[in-house]
Symmetry: D2
Subunit: 267 residues, 4 copies
């Protein structure tokens, strides 16, 4: 590789032989269902399983773990603020000490479900408003990191490249895994364009699969202004809760394999 | 020992050198508190810790586990129907499969809190309406037993002597521990007199401590008609949620020690 | 009419010029949706709106009331046990006094949503496990009746013909409206065949519409053994939460109108 | 009155003949209790009744309304974010449209309980984190105002003097009632000193009663730097959830009457 490559680019390229695909699963609750879990489990390598705080109940968690194990898919704890009515999408100013406890509780509940299903929890991914908050909020980011460390420092964490969360996780000795988004527009700093902006979500299948392949093979993405930025993700996040999402996820998977990318869980 | 002793009496007497004292702890929720946990933790040898379904939240569960560990008190999962509004005191016709999942979820959540506090969950005790239901309901009793077996067959279970629950637990190879009540009247079959009957709860301290000593040393209790019945408990349940309860618990402990009974967790 | 007609049959026939169609609506919660409310609102004359205890949140309740008002559909409070996790489908042994309060709370919450939408709550229909329980349980049936009377004795109640609930409601001076089921099999006593029995739910569209027309025009239904029984319903319940349900509801409506039945709310 | 008096001072003095005393009531939940409602109901003229979002369940709400009616105390809806686990003390970034619905739901549920108890809801007071948030957050403040207007523009609202909430309420034509705090330190702008600052809460009974009398008779308070500021409250907030709080409330009431202040609800 030439002199023009940054370390991050080289690292991304070297790891480009393989990438993880993750998706949110088990997001029903009681009589309500959401998403097409069955289809997604045949596509992804890592399942972010809701733990009962934003979605998921004990029965759904067990079933999701069983299906993940059957499909050889890694199980991650998709931890959230305690907010079923808001699906974890509303920021809550929870005190750090309570957040630590809430995260530990959720991981433990899922760990029991995973264990009974013959699996294990391999990583932790914050959900929704918590995910977004700990991009910049040091207190809450540190609380999530501390919860994982206290419970099991062998767990990986999945989050946004450049976030406070991943930074603190790395400092704490956790395996901190940055993820990329195949259907979201990036700005020139490598941040996601806010969903409130037009064009923030990419619906065109060809553009989505192209972005997936570029992120996986080169670690880079073309920003909304046309620049090349390098989030260097080790996992790509696929959504499953909109019509056609599962089909698009399949296309992403197919495109990646066609480009010679191996699909492999990061843990 | 003379010919007049039944096997149960002999067994009770042999084990009378030691008995466990258990109490419900961690039954606050959010801003609400209940009971005098601090006092009880200096009295009992086993703590039935609420797991968030009838009481307890993640922060209270962690704190209760920390205090149990500090006091050398065993931690048990006080599992319940999902009913915060009813404090787990209302029977719910939950399907067996869902009940299994609910129990696994609760044990796992508490196990994480216990682990982080340097402890471990040693046993499972059903709470409130669930406790009473599985005295006779085979389906729900079998569901709780199955949940414990699936999660960890090394866990003990604590319940009512003669209940379907303890019977099925024993058949399943679990350590099934019968408990006695120091302040409840018993009928001639060794069952508790319903709380709706007058005289079902004993308030007189002298009678309570006498019943505690007899249950611990002889395995027996004098029924409401004056007969001697033998529940042969290996643990005595102390309540802490009424005024004066903690003081009464202390008196029970003192009376037991004075009678030469060692206080020792059953696991 | 000839001498062979019972009073009930005559009453049913006289009222057969018009019938009400009711359906469960607003049964989403937060991010979760259920059923095809939009389609059903163009079919039914009465909307049983979930009040937050088994489904429905404040935002969904307001929107459902707004849509009911737009469509000229009556609003009923679909009251339930407090059990979001179980969708109100699990019997709960709630004390009568608490049940009274729970019902009042739900009606009031919906009344506010209806009022803001320019409508009003016209009736109360118990949901799920509560509906089934008060077919025979006098205490809980009396509690629901008492709640309605205390809140507003001008409200009608909708329930199963022959149930304790409708009997007690009538005695209490409430307008007690019996409903029929277009897609459920009846036994010779005019009771619904349990869902656990094969054939309890009728899937064939022709049989469903035929049963609807007979119930509406003659008050009668052919039982599983071929007998004619007369539930004499003043409202027919249509389901909307299964695939094809909204289409079937439309066919029922069309068949009724073709048979000369006017569709009219009972209040 | 001399030339040195500002309009606000004169207005405060003229209205000083009477003041309202309000307190948070009905803040238990299920098996949990909080505060000394019975004592406070003999002290205050207005009861802020929890509506089930931060505390209170249907049974507690009915009982609290019954006791308020018996004591001739006005009933206000103490509306909150939906957060039982956090007792409504954590800010939630709920969307304005959802907040409007949530407020309407709560007022309606309480209105039903009040009506059945022979009373009526007279005013709305936001609770906890919502109260603090709408001091400055225009969107959420406007949402609460809009909810009250939609439900009943005849309802008064109770809040912090100078808050966005009271300002918008007044603009919307609602009766906007400013309240004062007898046991909280004020800064020179007439704002409350943050609870995180030492000395923010006044515990000395003599200072509390003196501040109560000054607020009631002169509309003013001595700030932490010794300046005189004029919140000109029409209601004084008394707390009841700490030990000795009910006794202190009684002393405040006695001191006010001794100073010739009549206690009278603002609506």
């Amino acid at each position: 590789m030439g002199a023009g490559y940054t370390d991050a680019a080289i690292e991304a390229r070297l790891s480009s032989i393989a990438i993880d695909l993750n998706s949110d699963l088990g997001e029903g609750f009681g009589a309500w269902s959401m998403g097409d879990d069955e289809s997604l489990l045949s596509v992804v390598t890592s399942a972010n399983v809701a733990c009962g705080y934003h979605a998921g109940d004990a029965t759904i968690m067990r079933r999701t773990c069983e299906n993940a194990v059957k499909n050889g898919v890694r199980i991650g704890a998709h931890v959230s603020y305690r907010d079923l009515a808001g699906f974890g999408r509303r920021t809550i100013d929870v005190a750090a000490g309570e957040l630590i406890s809430d995260i530990i509780y959720q991981i433990g509940a899922l760990a029991a479900c995973a264990q009974v299903a013959g699996g294990t929890v391999s990583y932790v991914k914050p959900h929704g408003a918590l995910y977004n908050r700990i991009v910049w909020d040091q207190d809450q980011a540190a609380a999530v990191v501390q919860a994982v460390r206290l419970y099991d420092p062998g767990l990986a964490v999945l989050g946004l490249p450049g976030s406070q969360f991943l930074g603190l996780a790395q400092q704490a000795g956790l395996q901190a895994v940055p993820e990329g988004f195949v259907d979201r527009a990036y700005d020139d700093e490598g941040r996601l364009v806010s969903r409130r902006q037009p064009g923030s979500v990419i619906h065109d299948a060809a553009r989505v699969t192209a972005q997936a392949v570029r992120l996986a093979t080169d670690g880079s993405v073309i920003s909304v202004t046309g620049s090349t930025v390098r989030p260097a993700p080790r996992s790509l996040c696929l959504h499953g809760d909109t019509p056609g999402a599962a089909e698009l996820a399949r296309q992403v998977r197919a495109s990646l394999r066609q480009a010679g990318v191996r699909l492999r869980a990061f843990v």
